[in-house]
C-alpha cells in the first residue's frame, strides 16, 4: 500500500486552520452555537418559566434579575427556541477565563515557547474529549505552537481535564495532580468539567473537577471548539492576552438538588 499523504500535501498545500481572521483578531469560532447571553430583562413570570425549563440551572432568577451562567450551559436550545426569548446564543462572548483574577495563572517565562500537556478524561461523554483529540490532527496541529501531549504527569506542565470528575475518577485525578511537578496549571475543558452538567444531581456523577483539584483556567462550551482550547493554552504561556479573557466573574449560586 502506497502512502499518499506526501502527494496530498503537495497538491492541497496547507490545510491547517488559521488562528487569526483577516483583521488580525483571534479566532475561537468553530461549528458551535456560542454562549448564552441575556439580551433584555423580562417580567418575573417569564423569567421563572425560563428558569424552570433550563435542565442544568444555567439560568438563575435572583434579585429580580435573570442571570445566565455560561459555564453551566449545555446548548440545549430550550430557552432560545422562542423568537421572543430574552436569551440569545452568541459567539461574541468570551469562552476562556481564569479562575483567579490576578496573573498567578501565567506560567513562568521558561514555559513561554513550549509546554507539555497531560490529558485526563475524568468521565466525559466523549464530546469534549473528541474536541481535545482534534488538537493534534493536521487541521489544528497544536505542535506548531510548541504544545505537546505527554503520557505521564511527571513530565507535564499543564493538566487538561475533560469530564465531570466522577466518583471513580476523583482519586486518579487527585493522584495525577499530585504527581505533576510545580509550577502546574489545570485547565478544565467543557461544561461537565466546570459544573458537572446534567449528572451533577446524581450521586456518583461528579459536580465538576474544582471540587477535586484547584482549577486555573476554565474553557466554556459543551463542547468547546478546538481553537478555543488552543486559545486557553496561549493564555497560560503568556504569549497572547486576547480580549476574550475576563479576569473577574461572579460565582453562580449553589446548585439545587432534587
Amino acid at each position: 500500500m502506497t502512502n499518499t499523504w506526501i502527494l496530498r500535501g503537495i497538491i492541497h498545500r496547507k490545510k491547517t486552520e488559521k488562528r487569526y481572521d483577516s483583521d488580525g483578531l483571534v479566532l475561537t469560532k468553530g461549528i458551535t452555537l456560542g454562549l448564552p447571553f441575556v439580551k433584555k430583562q423580562v417580567s418575573s413570570e417569564n423569567a421563572i418559566q425560563l428558569v424552570s425549563i433550563c435542565p442544568t440551572q444555567a439560568l438563575v432568577y435572583e434579585n429580580n434579575k435573570l442571570n445566565v451562567y455560561p459555564e453551566r450551559c449545555i446548548r440545549c436550545d430550550r430557552c432560545v427556541e422562542d423568537n421572543l426569548s430574552p436569551i440569545v446564543m452568541t459567539n461574541d462572548q468570551p469562552s476562556v477565563r481564569w479562575s483567579n483574577p490576578d496573573n498567578s495563572v501565567l506560567l513562568p517565562h521558561q514555559f513561554r515557547r513550549s509546554i507539555h500537556i497531560r490529558i485526563v478524561d475524568a468521565g466525559d461523554c466523549g464530546g469534549c474529549y473528541n474536541e481535545v483529540r482534534q488538537l493534534n490532527n493536521p487541521f489544528y496541529n497544536m505542535h506548531r505552537f510548541g504544545f505537546f501531549i505527554t503520557p505521564t504527569p511527571r513530565n507535564a506542565d499543564v493538566l487538561m481535564v475533560v469530564g465531570s470528575g466522577t466518583r471513580q475518577m476523583q482519586y486518579a485525578l487527585q493522584a495525577t495532580y499530585e504527581a505533576m511537578p510545580t509550577p502546574k496549571i489545570v485547565i478544565a475543558v467543557g461544561t461537565c468539567a466546570l459544573s458537572g452538567n446534567m449528572w451533577s444531581k446524581s450521586l456518583t456523577g461528579g459536580t465538576g473537577i474544582k471540587n477535586v483539584i484547584p482549577v486555573d483556567v476554565e474553557v466554556m462550551g459543551s463542547p468547546p471548539t478546538p481553537l478555543t482550547i488552543i486559545q486557553s493554552l496561549f493564555s497560560i504561556t503568556g504569549r497572547q492576552m486576547p480580549a476574550s479573557i475576563i479576569s473577574s466573574k461572579t460565582e453562580p449560586p449553589e446548585m439545587k438538588r432534587d
Binding site: T152, P153, R154, Y171, A172, L173, A175, T176, E178, A179, P181, T182
Partner: protein
Amino acid sequence: MTAALIMLIISLSSCVITAIGALLVRRSYISHVLAVGGSIISLCALAAGWIMLANPTLQHSVSYLTLPLAGHLSLRLNRLSGMFLIVFGLVCLPISIFSLRYLEKMLKNYSLRFYGVWYSSLLFSIVLILIAGDIITFFTAWELMSVTSALLVAYEHKNDKGPAAGWLMLITSETGALAFLGSFILLAVNAHTLQFSGILAHPGSFSPGLRAIIFVLSFFGFATKTGLVPVNFWLPRAHPEAPGPISALLSAFILNCGIYGIFLINVVLLPVRSVWIGVAVMTIGTVTAILGILYASISDDIKTVLAHSSSENMGLMTIATGAGMIFLASHAPVLAGIGFMVAIFQMTNHSIYKALLFLCAAAVHRQTNTRSLDKLGGLIKAMPWTSGTFLIGALSISALPPFSGFTSEWLLIQTLLQATTLHSTALELACAIAAVFVGLTAALSITCFVRVFSMGFLGHPRTQTAKNAKEIPHSMRYSLGLLAMLCIGIGILPTICIPIFSRALSPGVNSVAVSNSLIPPFFSQIGHSFLNPNFQRSFLNIGAGIGQHTLPGSSMVILHQGGTANPVTFATSPFYGVFVLILLLLLTRLAVKIITRNRTKLTVPAWTGGMRKLLPEMTYTSTAFAKPVNVIFQSVIHNRTVIEERDAVHEHFRSVIHRHVKESHIIDRYFLEPIGKIVVSIANTIAKLHTGRIKHYSTLVLFTFVTTLIIAIFV
C-alpha cells in the same frame, strides 16, 4: 617442580580422603567435610599452579605407572596447566566455602553421602585432566569427570527434570569423548607414542587431510564440553537443574576443560598451519556468542540465563582462540600470543564472575525457592549482600570499565582489528565481521544483565516468598565477597595480570614479547625500544608515565600498536580510568547540586497510573523487558504457542483462556529435532521386522546362522 608435584599429590590425596570421609562421618557433618576438603584441594591446586606458572622451564614429565602394553603413564606439569590450575583453585575455593551452608537445604530430602563421593571424584578428575601427561590418563580422567558431573547434575532426582538433564549431558559428553579419542588415536599412531611429551618431541608427519580430520574430530569432541554451536543444547538444560555449587563449578570450570583440550591439541601438540581452521573456529565462536546471549536475554529462569551466557562467553573465548590460530598460521607469533592470551584472560574472567553469578543465583534459590525472574523482585532490600555482589558480577560480565570483563573484551576486539597486518582481504573481512558481532554481543549482554538485575533485585517483590526472603549466612557471604573482590581486582589491575596470563602460552610464542607489546615498560625503563620515541613522548605527555619513579611494574597502560598497514594505536588504562571515573562522578554530583540548588524539591508517592494501589504483579516484568529483543530477533527465536487451554462454562461462555508462548532454540529446530526424526525413522524401519509371528523370527535366526557360517568359512 618437586614442590608443585607435592602440592598436586596432596590435592589428589585429599580428594580421596574427602570421599572416604563423606562415606564415614555422621550425616550432618558431611557438608563440613566437603567444605574443608574442597578448600584444601583448591588451595593446593592454586599453589601447585602458581609454582608451575612461575617455573622457567616450560614442562616436566613424571612417570607414575608402567602398563604392559601402553608403556608409561605420566603426569605433565607445564605452564598452561598451571594457569588452568590457578583458575580452578580460585573458583573452587569460594564454591567449597559456599556449599557448607548451601547443602543444608538438600539434606532434608537427599542423603549427601554419594554427593560427597561424586563431588570429590569430580575435583580429582579435573585436577588429573589438567596434569595428564598421556592419552590414557587424560581420557580416563575425562570419562570420570563426565560421569561424575552427570551424576551430580541428576542428584536432585526427586524433581523430574534433573535425571533427564543428567542423561542428556552424559550422552553428549560421551559422544564428544569418542570423537576426540579418535583424534588422539590418530596422533598417537603417527607419533608411535601415547605420551604428550613424546608427541611434542617427535610429532611425525601429517598430511593436510589428516590434520583436518584431527582438527574436526578434536574440535567437535571438546566443543561438546565447551558448549559451542551446534552441540550446546545440553548446556541450558543441565546447568539449571544441578545443585547450586555444582552448576557454578560446571559453568565456571568444567566448560574450560573443553578449551583446555582445544588448546592442547590444536595449539600445543599439533599447532595449526592453515588459516581456514582458524576462520572456522572463529565463525563457530561468533555464532555461539551471538546465539548464547540472544537466548540469555529472553530466558526467564535466572540459572538458564546464566547458562546461555556461559555459552556466549565460551564463544568469545573461541573467537580469541580462532584469531590466535589465524595469526599463528600466518606467521605473526606476537599477535597469535595476544590472541591466545586474550582467550585465557577471558576464560579467567568468565570463571570468576560466572562462579559469582551462579552462587548468587543459588543463594537466591535457597532463600526464595524460586528461580523465575517473574516471581522475584525487590531482593536488594532483603538480601543486600547477595544483590551487591550480583551487581558486581553483572557489571563485570557486561564488560563495563572498572570491572574485570572490560579489558579482555576490549583486547579481543582490538586483536581482531589487528588482522589488517595480514594483507589478506578475506581474513580482514572475517575478523572485522567477528569484531562487529563481538560488539553486538557486548551490547546484548548489557541488556541481558540489566534485565536480570533490575527484575530480580530491584522494584517490588512479586511474590510472598520474595518478600519474606532473608539474607544468606556469613560463610556464604564471604565466598561471594571473595569472588567480587577478584572481579574488581582484575578489572582495576589488568596490567599486572596480563604478564601472568602470557606466561601460560604455548612453545611457539614468546611470552615476554607478548606482554611487552601490550604493556610497554613505561616505568621500569625509560627510553626502551618497544615504542617509537616520538610516540612514546606523546604518550608521556598525556600522563601515561605518571608515577614512573614510584610505581613498580611495567605500566598502567595497555597498548595495542598498529603496524605500517594500520598506523592506529589503541590504548586504555583501567587503573587511571577508575580515578577519572570517580572524579567524574564527584564532579557531576557537584554540578547537579550547584545547578539545582534553588529548586524546590517535591517528594510525592510513585506515579502509579492513577491506580489506588500498585500491586507487584502490575509492575514491569522480565518477560516484558525481554519483549523488544524477542521482537527484533523473531526470525531466529520463532516463538511457539505451547499450550492453549480454554475453560468454558456450558461450552459456550469462555471464562478463562490460558495461552503460553515459548521461545524455541534454533539449535533444537535445525539440529536436534532432525536428528531425532532420523533416529525415529530408523527405529520404525527396524520395527517392521518385529511382526510378532514365530515363523518370521525363526527365519531370521536361520538367516543369521547361515550368514555367520559363510563369514566364518570365507574370512
